[in-house]
Symmetry: D3
Subunit: 62 residues, 6 copies
């Protein structure tokens, strides 16, 4: 049942996402000693104006 939520920017290709989900699932399954079938991953892509880093919106950074 491990659930992994990944919050990143929305600037990731489908190929990279596919590879990321595969590898992260394998790593987490191994760490908990559980079959990979039990792993759920949820990826959320945030717009630059919905992310704050160090007090400012990412979209305001140059």
């Amino acid at each position: 049942m491990p659930v992994i939520q990944i919050a990143g920017n929305n600037n990731i290709s489908i190929e990279n996402k596919r590879e990321m989900v595969k590898k992260v699932s394998e790593v987490v399954a191994e760490a908990y000693g559980l079959p990979i079938e039990t792993i759920t991953v949820l990826v959320t892509g945030f717009e630059p104006d919905d992310i704050g880093a160090g007090g400012e919106l990412l979209s305001d950074r140059k």
Copy 2:
């Protein structure tokens, strides 16, 4: 103040969502012995290529 976050696919009708929010709120309010007015529900609909199940993207499943 109980807060319920529901992460599912984005393939749910407004009627089903309305009914789900109503029933889930009633169940949780009763379990905590709190008035239903205190319950907040947040529903997030994920695209099939943002969900990983068993190491693969849902959008890659046949």
Copy 3:
């Protein structure tokens, strides 16, 4: 794969939690038209001094 996160106070009995998880899972499974086996529920119990409501800690309320 629907995932339900329930954040409440830590003042709930195991019997109420069991009943809540069962009913919430049934309701969400039905709403998405998915088998109940696909439903994961994560319950987090917060201490009154980790919950803010209306600007004040729950533990400060009389």
Copy 4:
């Protein structure tokens, strides 16, 4: 590393969001005694039919 997730409606201007992220980051940095550079804020805007309050969808309220 403090991470702040703000879930609200999607009816907030970019100016208000910018100001909110700035002030919330300052407040949280000060509370933990950490530099503001360590603070991440993630803002999620929910549609009125993805928010349940008191058992009903916000979009059903008059």
Copy 5:
């Protein structure tokens, strides 16, 4: 209904937490143009060995 989840270390005093919850609630209420009564804050304190920063556990840092 805005919900704010703050994830930080577990090394914060109750006084700081109280002040943080008060100020964050005020800032978010003002940003959304909503009464402060509608704001919920959930604070989670993580142990240093449950936080990863830059690939290593916070508890492994010197």
Copy 6:
């Protein structure tokens, strides 16, 4: 700024957690093309009676 939240059981050793955080951070950093320094991981260990799978508490499973 990618943030990874991992929710699992509380039955994981510190060695496994350390390795998991390291590898997951590397994988996510590579997928987004960002330095590993920008990655935050938050691990939450749930008790078996706070996890529902298929409608029942994990602690009720034999």
